[in-house]
């Protein structure tokens, strides 16, 4: 009973923005007739936005891009970072380890928002650009974590035994080390996803993310700011949903990890 109660708040916080983001577009009306800008008459649930579109309709439409871009960027980070970390952690060639890891130190020296602003403004405004840049910014941390995990795992007697039996390195790497790393990496997943959400949303807010015409929660906050005194809903609703998503994901993952102790806390 205790555990179920413990999940109530985090799960609600995640569920509301996530369901709105994923299924909202199905319920949104294609009717984009424009009304008076920043009006708060009874006709619209949350009033109208800076060009007179219905705020609730925009909220229904605007979450999908944020959640999808952040999720795909997180997946891409892992797809690149885990093999890199696995090779760097398992190799006995010190030089290869250095060649793989040193450039990441340089990446860390550049503030992520600076990198985001520069890289995104160089490339055309498209979702895949944002995905690639966010994945790149999150890369060093995940490579480090996977390297550390692989390093400690490959020192285990089991790995030594497999080597003596003449198993190939690729088999040991994929069959044993990579599989044993799953837990360490899963423990980190929530942080990476909220980190990606943070970057994607901030980019859209600064106007360098997705196309400015697109319906997007972060872009809504930016565009409707000028009417904050007249019509706060157009800003508050999307901002609140973004905060709920970040807070909810963090709290839920923390709960999951604490309930699955100690197996999940197998940190290297």
């Amino acid at each position: 009973m205790r555990t179920v109660r413990g999940y109530a708040i985090p799960a609600t916080l995640v569920a509301i923005p996530l369901l709105l983001a994923l299924f909202g577009p199905l319920f949104a009306s294609g009717d984009t007739t424009k009304d008076v800008a920043f009006s708060l008459d009874g006709q619209h649930w949350f009033g109208t936005d800076f060009v007179g579109r219905d705020v609730w309709n925009e909220v229904l439409l605007g979450g999908r891009s944020l959640v999808l871009v952040a999720a795909v960027a997180t997946i891409c980070t892992y797809l690149v970072a885990v093999p890199l970390g696995l090779v760097a952690g398992m190799t006995r060639n010190r030089a290869l380890d250095e060649v793989l890891m040193r450039p990441l130190d340089l990446l860390l020296a550049v503030p992520s928002m600076l990198m985001l602003l520069l890289l995104v403004s160089i490339a055309p405004q498209a979702p895949w650009v944002l995905i690639a840049v966010v994945a790149l910014i999150n890369l060093p941390d995940v490579v480090r974590i996977s390297r550390a995990a692989a390093l400690s795992l490959s020192a285990r007697p089991a790995v030594e035994a497999m080597r003596l039996q003449g198993e190939s390195r690729i088999r040991i790497g994929l069959g044993y080390v990579a599989r044993s790393m799953r837990r360490t990496l899963a423990a980190d997943l929530g942080t990476r996803f909220t980190g990606a959400t943070y970057l994607v949303a901030s980019a859209s807010f600064l106007g360098v993310g997705l196309s400015p015409q697109a319906s997007d929660w972060a872009a809504m906050v930016d565009r409707n700011r000028v009417g904050l005194f007249v019509q706060p809903w157009a800003v508050v609703v999307p901002a609140l949903l973004i905060v709920m998503l970040a807070v909810g994901v963090n709290l839920t993952f923390d709960r999951l990890l604490r309930d699955r102790q100690p197996t999940f806390l197998e940190t290297p």
Partner: protein, 314 residues
Amino acid sequence: MTIPRYLAHRALLGVVQVLVVMAGMFFLTEALPGDAAVTIAGDNPDPAMIADLRERLGLNESSWHRLGDWLVAALHGDFGQSLLAPRSVVDIVASAAEPTLLLAGLTLVLLIPLSVGLGVLAAHREGSRLDRLISGTTLGLYSAPEFAMGILIVTVFAVKLGWFPPTAVGTSLTDNPAVLVLPVFVLLLRPICSLSRLVRAGMIDAQQSDYVRHVLRLGLSPARVRFTHSLPNAVAPAAQQLARTVDWLVGGVIVIEAIFVVPGLGTTLAAAVAARDLPVIQGLAVVFATTTVLVNLVADIAARVLAPTAEVGR
């Protein structure tokens, strides 16, 4: 490794980091679509005028050639002229630096005592309702984007309650300190959360360690043990996170300056990126990257001095 050798090693790495980042930034900004000649030429560009501007601005030289020139000049403190305004980059950066330094400095000054205090308090009352409240809040809020938190806080405290001004428009930060309250509060949120969690975890670890139990048995007062023996060990990992915080502060400052309309480095950067003003972007990139590298250096050294046994800065 002895401390002086470690220092020399880290300082050298720092210099290499800054140089590589400078070169990287140079080529990145080179790759920005369009160039200043097109921007200056305006909406109805005349090809002859653009060619002439390119010649005068030196945009026709090879990239490597310009990188060399730029690096040599930059080491002499000359970052060139803005392409859009008749001012030097150093002048532009210097005049925008004051509000940003004020915001970031004030945040850092408040950040350390607040997060250490909060962490020590939560660790002292481990498991209590207060601890759960602090831990839950700090865990939840640390990855909430500043712009979303900022706009919600502005809505409540500036628009609804009217306690603080919503933007810095029409006033300066130094003349009217009330303007600073909301931006600094929002800037503090994320770093406080991560730092106080680290301090809390470190304090709990240290309080349960063998040597703390030993000095307690020797008869030292619990308060003295807590602050002179446990705290330094708890602060060591936090010192490294503080370096990470600078990365957050740079990002936070860019967003916060946009929300509160502060004419600082962040606003200047956003405007320079939009206008493709390469020299200004490069100058700001160097400032931000050098700050990050320097703070990382100081944090690594501080962590090593505080807890010499810890494995620090690979």
